[in-house]
């Protein structure tokens, strides 16, 4: 049986979305992605840093990001992730979808008052 509870689909989707968004500016290593998400959200979204990696792996499987090993400014080897063309398109779709979902949720939650 499952060794650890799985994140709900919605949350998993949102991590993917955040990563894609973070990578849309420039290629980045995993730590940098976590930092950027934290910055963009003014610290409100504190993503569990470790869970970025399975998500990145997933995105790479989907062909939405690519990775290769490069040197950092400090001359360390790090794995850099780059948004692919498909990833950029997916980002657009995901954003659109997320907005609709949020609207609908709002609709559901606000109705019946």
């Amino acid at each position: 049986m499952s060794r650890h509870p799985q994140e709900p689909d919605a949350l998993r989707g949102s991590i993917d979305l955040l990563i894609l968004k973070a990578l849309s500016l420039e290629p980045m290593h995993g730590w940098g992605i976590g930092l950027r998400i934290n910055q963009i959200s003014s610290g409100r979204l504190d993503v569990n840093q470790g869970s970025l990696y399975p998500a990145l792996q997933r995105l790479e499987h989907n062909g939405w990001v690519e990775s290769d090993w490069q040197s950092t400014e400090n001359n360390r080897r790090a794995r850099y992730y780059t948004l692919t063309k498909a990833g950029r398109k997916a980002l657009g779709d995901e954003v659109e979808r997320w907005k609709r979902f949020a609207e609908t949720m709002a609709l559901v939650l606000e109705s019946g008052r």
């Binding site: 049986m1 499952s2 060794r3 650890h4 689909d9 919605a10 989707g13 290593h29 995993g30 730590w31 976590g34 930092l35 569990n48 840093q49 470790g50 869970s51 990696y53 399975p54 792996q57 997933r58 790479e60 499987h61 989907n62 062909g63 939405w64 690519e66 090993w69 360390r76 080897r77 790090a78 794995r79 692919t84 498909a86 979808r97 609709r100 979902f101 609207e103 609908t104 709002a106 609709l107 559901v108 606000e110 109705s111």
Partner: protein, 1187 residues
């Protein structure tokens, strides 16, 4: 996405080791970077590392997830699907078992049928290059019928024709086999064997299981006493002795040396025939078939079957032409025997036998029909299971819709459903794969037990297993994929339309589905009635009068002829043995006879009697005959009715005597006493006989009851070299049998006995054919019934599921669960009754055909014809009741609620899927409306109205959007927009004249809108009347509002009073009235209304609150008001901060009225804590100087 990239990613992930170290490096890098960042922020080094780890979360967990995701993402999903499917299976054990059994039997049946086809058409011959093997027959001059060859013809074809590389011949024969050393069942027996030409094994070129096959060069004909054992005989009679080669056995009393064991699975070349246990060289024919001096001579009328190997590279046609050319040469050379005869060459693989006996074309046709029938059965099963799955999938339609809306890919869902089907199919497939291996068992239970084994040796080989597995895959795909595809294409629009309250029209179960169920039921009725008749007849047969005793009789046969006995030696043997048997203590009587009851074959004879009527050309009357010794009638228990039994004195040389059965006597001499009458044996010039006795009619076979005429001849006058010992025993016959065997062994140690049996066993095997028929009919009948029951269940289940909403609504409207259930069952029961009725008519017809096979039972046996339909009727009821029961359990409210939630979640998916442009626009409009973007909302609704006109909701909401726009617009725009509102509401009302929502909207519009925009009280009053007819409650409520608007409070009071009078059970009506009074400061009236209600319903939460509200506003009954509000707070089951806040606000007012400012302040503060947006409480608190 790029395929190549994806492949590369996947390929990389295959190298687990590299991926693992890279993952560690990446994690390490992350932790160090994070720690470094923290150090820069001034955190201590160790603390920084600790915090970095905490922020990262469980390292192992992420490692594990990465590993899962690396290669096993697909597999992980698969595992989850399998788990889900298994849970679903366990939740519905009945469904699971039905699926497993029907699928297993269906697929397994195909496997078994294919096994037979495989063994008949593509028989695996363990010979070298079996495709080169053919069989040669000679065709008769006039008829062209294929015949076996004479030995000299055979030699010429082999040596001189050049048509074949080689030709071998074989001829089946029974043999007395004795294995010296051991004396057991297997060691001495009458066996089936084949005499084969000495080149037989050389031609086939098989690899022996042991030893070395004999060949022509081994020894000259007549001196080659060699024997080859079949694999089965080797196992059974020699325990698989590895040193079998060289062992000596006695064949018909003569020593033969076993040289080899044939490979497993080789049972001679004939498909239809006894399985040979032994092959001996044809050169030994004088031993193998005593007296066959002419076997190796002659041309016409021969008995050799042949197997030939074609010349290398030759086709069958070319070979046949060459053989036919040679046949012409033979015809010229030997015109007296071979004139006009031809040659026929057929391939050895396809049902190898004399084509006059079994036509290859018929075999192919029968095989095709068998496969076709089994596959059709399987298709029906799959259709049933697919129906079931569909019904189940429809139940889960909402789940599907939700998952699709949450972004679950359709392919993923299809895979999940397919996995479920596959998992569900596993037990069935296992059953199916096991079934072909039952074939030998089935065959042995279906094939009657004869002295020599027969059968089609349909052993399941790899081909059969592969076929069965393939069929199983096909079946799973069929019954899994179709529902999967259909269910995942969940009809979003359908789901939505249900939320709008429309009751979906119930789809009728498809006609085809119904017809399938009816025909399955009908067929299973026929089969089950047939099976039941057979079973009943078997029971009846046991108590039937056969004309002799059915207990305490033992039989044992010998064949002296094979052993080379002459007549004198034979007679002495018979006399010696019978004398010793009769002297045994437990023997009542004993005699010799042949045939005895339940022998496989009978013997016939023609009797010539002056004046007897007959149709035959030679003037004789045919009858069954038995050659018996004196005392046979006693030994068997036949009843002598007149005259006397044979005596020792009736021996060779004395006048021939005859005993006849009663029926034969009646036929030969209808009107006179038969005793002393004379006739002739065989023909008008045959030896004369005199009738000395008449016995009661007896049935020696259970196959054919039409004739019971039988003549008994004295074997002292007519010698036979093969006879059966009949012994009447005092105790159990089986106890005597070993002593009988010992007596025979003492008389001749080299003579085997066979056919050792008791009369009960004889009857059993005699009834084997009926039992087989009963089993087959019963098996297929039950299978058919099971399939039909599952089909019926599926039909009812899917119609129930399709109509769940309808049923829910009906039940909400007052139909009882019983009504709903009855309605659900009607369709299924109707199909069941039709099926049963058709089946019964068919069964009556079929039972007439079976009449000849039923013993002591009327074909219209009432027990069968009443019992089977009743049993089936119960099953039909059960199969419809079980799924229908779900209707009764239906909770209408829950059903509708889940639908609403599902529909709302479907919204985002809807827009994406472009299912329906109008609907999409409408949903967007609703979303925008909710977000208070009324301009956008209006645009979307306009779009919706344009794309899909005629939907009341679209117009209604467009009206709402305009109304909201109006409120924020300037004066000029108000004029423009205002004019647009009325027409939209008009249209909404026109499209949905009974919609309360539309009526209220238009009413409010008339009430509120200025005259320039189309408002006005006259319009409003007219609309109010209309609303009141649709919904009196809402009408009265709005009447109050309207009268207040019109500044006529007395009329409003009237309306509100009418409302609470008309709906005495409605707390809400009382609240409306009480609020009205409070607003007009008529507190005593308010309290009166409230009290009246509380008397009836003291726990009506909203009315309880009104007590507090009235107290707070009036300053009267303050203590009661406080108590009521505290009670109200306690009664609030759920956390509802707005209601709580309001209650505290009112408590604050009560405090103020009491001048208890600290209470007031505290309560106002609570109210604001609970609802910071509570302005009135905020203002009050400010006034009191708090905060």
């Amino acid at each position: 996405m790029s395929l190549i990239k994806a492949l590369r990613a996947r390929a990389r992930s295959l190298f687990g080791g590299v991926a693992e170290s890279r993952m560690e490096e990446e994690f390490q890098f992350h932790l160090e970077m994070e720690a470094a960042r923290l150090v820069r922020e001034g955190v201590g080094r160790d603390e920084a590392h600790r915090r970095a780890r905490v922020a990262f979360g469980g390292l192992d967990r992420h490692r594990e997830e990465m590993r899962d995701g690396r290669g096993a993402r697909w597999f992980g999903d698969f595992r989850a699907d399998v788990r889900y499917a298994m849970r679903a299976m366990l939740r519905r054990p009945g469904f699971t078992v039905a699926t497993a059994v029907t699928l297993g039997l269906g697929v397994g049946l195909s496997g078994i049928v294919f096994g037979y086809v495989n063994s008949l058409l593509f028989r695996p011959i363990p010979a070298r290059a079996p495709a080169e093997l053919v069989s040669l027959f000679r065709t008769e001059a006039r008829s062209g019928n294929p015949r076996q060859l004479g030995y000299e013809d055979y030699l010429d074809y082999r040596n001189r024709s050049g048509a074949f590389a080689d030709v071998a011949g074989f001829d089946g024969t029974p043999l007395n086999l004795v294995v010296p050393g051991a004396r057991s069942d297997a060691a001495a027996d009458l066996i089936w064997a084949e005499m084969v030409t000495e080149n037989y094994f050389t031609l086939l070129d098989m690899r022996p299981a042991a030893g070395r096959f004999f060949a022509a060069a081994d020894a000259p004909q007549g001196a080659n006493a060699f024997a080859v054992l079949s694999y089965e005989a080797w196992r059974k009679r020699f325990g698989g002795d590895p040193n079998i080669a060289g062992r000596v056995v006695r064949v018909n009393g003569t020593p033969f040396t076993i040289v080899a064991v044939a490979p497993s699975g080789f049972r001679g070349m004939r498909t239809f025939g006894f399985w040979p246990e032994m092959w001996v060289p044809i050169g030994m024919h004088l031993v193998a078939r005593p007296g066959s001096t002419a076997l190796l001579t002659g041309r016409g009328g021969g008995s050799l079957m042949t197997v030939a190997r074609m010349n290398p590279g030759w086709e069958r046609r070319r070979t046949e032409l060459a053989a036919q050319t040679f046949a012409k040469q033979l015809a010229t050379a030997y015109p007296e025997s071979n004139a006009e005869t031809g040659a026929l060459v057929i391939p050895a693989k396809v049902g190898f036998d004399n084509p006059a006996f079994v036509k290859p074309g018929v075999l192919v046709l029968a095989s095709a029909l068998g496969i076709f029938a089994s596959l059709v059965t399987l298709l029906i099963i799959c259709a049933n299971l697919a129906n079931l799955q569909l019904a189940r999938a429809a139940e889960r339609g909402q789940e599907m819709a939700i998952r699709l809306s949450l972004g679950g890919a359709r392919a993923r869902l299809v895979r999940q459903l397919l996995t479920e089907s596959a998992v569900l199919a596993i037990p069935g497939v296992l059953i199916a794969l096991a079934m072909p291996s039952l074939t030998p068992m089935l065959e042995s239970s279906f094939v009657p037990k004869l002295q020599f084994q027969v059968g089609f040796q349909a052993t399941p080989d790899l081909t059969v297993m592969l076929f069965t597995g393939g069929v199983a895959l096909f079946a799973v795909a069929l019954f899994g994929l179709v529902p999967a595809l259909r269910a995942s294409r969940t009809d979003l629009r359908h789901a939505m339309s249900n939320t709008a309250g429309s009751v979906g029209g119930a789809r009728r179960p498809s006609r085809l589905r119904g017809m399938l169920v009816v025909s399955q039921l009908a067929l299973s009725v026929i089969l089950l009635v047939g099976g039941a008749l057979f079973v009943r007849s078997l029971i009846a047969a046991r108590s039937m009068d056969f004309g002799f005793d059915l207990t305490s009789r033992a039989f044992m046969s010998v064949n002296l002829g094979l052993q080379g006995y002459d007549e004198a030696r034979g007679r002495k043997f018979y006399d010696d043995v019978i004398a010793r048997v009769r002297s045994l203590p437990d023997v009542v009587s004993a005699s010799w006879g042949f045939p005895v009851p339940f022998d496989t074959y009978g013997r016939g004879i023609g009797l010539y009697v002056e004046g007897a009527k007959t149709n035959s050309r030679d003037g004789t009357i045919g009858t069954e005959v038995s050659y018996v010794a004196e005392g046979f009638l006693d030994a068997l228990g036949l009843r002598l009715q007149a005259g006397r039994d044979f005596a020792i004195a009736d021996s060779a040389g004395t006048p021939r005597v005859l005993i006849v059965s009663r029926e034969l006597a009646t036929r030969l001499w209808p009107s006179v006493d038969p005793i002393g009458r004379r006739g002739r044996l065989g023909a008008a010039d045959g030896p004369e006989f005199t009738v000395i006795g008449v016995v009661g009619d007896a049935r020696f076979t259970v196959f054919d009851f039409s004739t019971t005429t039988r003549a008994y001849l004295s074997m002292r006058q007519r010698y036979r070299d093969s006879e059966t010992l009949v012994v009447h025993t005092r105790g159990a016959p089986s106890a005597v049998i070993p002593r009988l065997e010992r007596i025979v062994a003492e008389a001749d140690p080299t003579l085997p006995v066979f056919g050792i049996t008791t009369i009960e066993e004889g009857l059993d095997s005699g009834l084997a054919a009926s039992r087989t028929a009963a089993r087959i009919a019963g098996f297929f009948g039950l299978l058919g019934l099971l399939i039909a029951a599952v089909g019926l269940y599926a039909v009812v289940a899917s119609s129930v599921t399709e109509r769940t909403r309808e049923m829910g609504v009906r039940m909400a409207l007052g139909a009882t669960p019983r009504d709903a259930m009855r309605q659900a069952m009607v369709g299924g029961v109707r199909l069941g009754v039709i099926g049963l009725a058709i089946g019964l008519v068919g069964a009556v017809a079929v039972s007439r055909l079976l009449a000849g096979l039923l013993f002591g039972l009327s074909p219209s046996d009432p027990v069968t014809f009443v019992g089977v339909p009743i049993a089936l009727g119960l099953i039909v009821l059960l199969a419809t009741y079980l799924p229908a029961r779900r209707v009764a359990r239906l909770d209408p409210v829950a059903a509708l609620r889940t639908l609403v939630i599902a529909a709302l979640l479907v919204l985002p998916r809807m827009t994406n899927a472009q299912v329906d442009a109008g609907r999409t626009a409408f949903d967007r409009g609703r979303a925008a409306f909710t977000a208070r973007k009324f301009d956008d909302a209006a645009k979307h609704f306009e779009d919706a109205v344009k794309r899909e006109p005629g939907v009341a909701d679209y117009h209604l909401w467009l009206g709402h959007a305009y109304t909201r726009q109006l409120k924020g617009a300037n004066f000029i725009r108000q004029g423009i927009i205002g004019r647009k509102i009325g027409p939209e509401y008009d249209r909404a009302v026109a499209l949905a004249p009974t919609s309360v929502e539309a009526a209220e909207a238009r009413l409010e519009f008339y009430m509120e809108a200025p005259g320039i925009a189309g408002g006005g009280m006259d319009h409003a009053r007219a609309e109010l009347e209309r609303l009141t007819t649709i919904n009196r409650y809402r009408g009265l409520t709005w009447r109050g509002r309207l009268e207040m608007k019109a500044n006529r409070p007395d009329k409003a009071e009237e309306a509100y009073r009418a409302l609470s009078d008309a709906f005495p059970d409605s707390g809400a009506a009382v609240v409306v009235l009480a609020t009205f009074y409070q607003d007009r400061a008529r507190f005593s009236d308010a309290f009166a209304a409230i009290d009246a209600r509380l008397e009836k319903a003291p726990d009506d939460t909203n009315v309880v609150y009104q007590v507090g509200r009235a107290a707070a506003l009036s300053g009267q009954q303050l203590d009661r008001g406080e108590r009521a509000l505290r009670r109200f707070l306690a009664m609030l089951g759920v956390k509802d901060s707005v209601s709580q806040s309001n209650a505290h606000w009112r408590l604050g007012m009560i405090g103020e009225k009491r001048a208890d400012m600290s209470m007031a302040r505290a309560e106002y503060q609570r109210a604001i804590d609970l609802n910071p947006a509570h302005e009135a409480a905020g203002a009050a608190l400010k006034r009191l100087g708090g905060r």
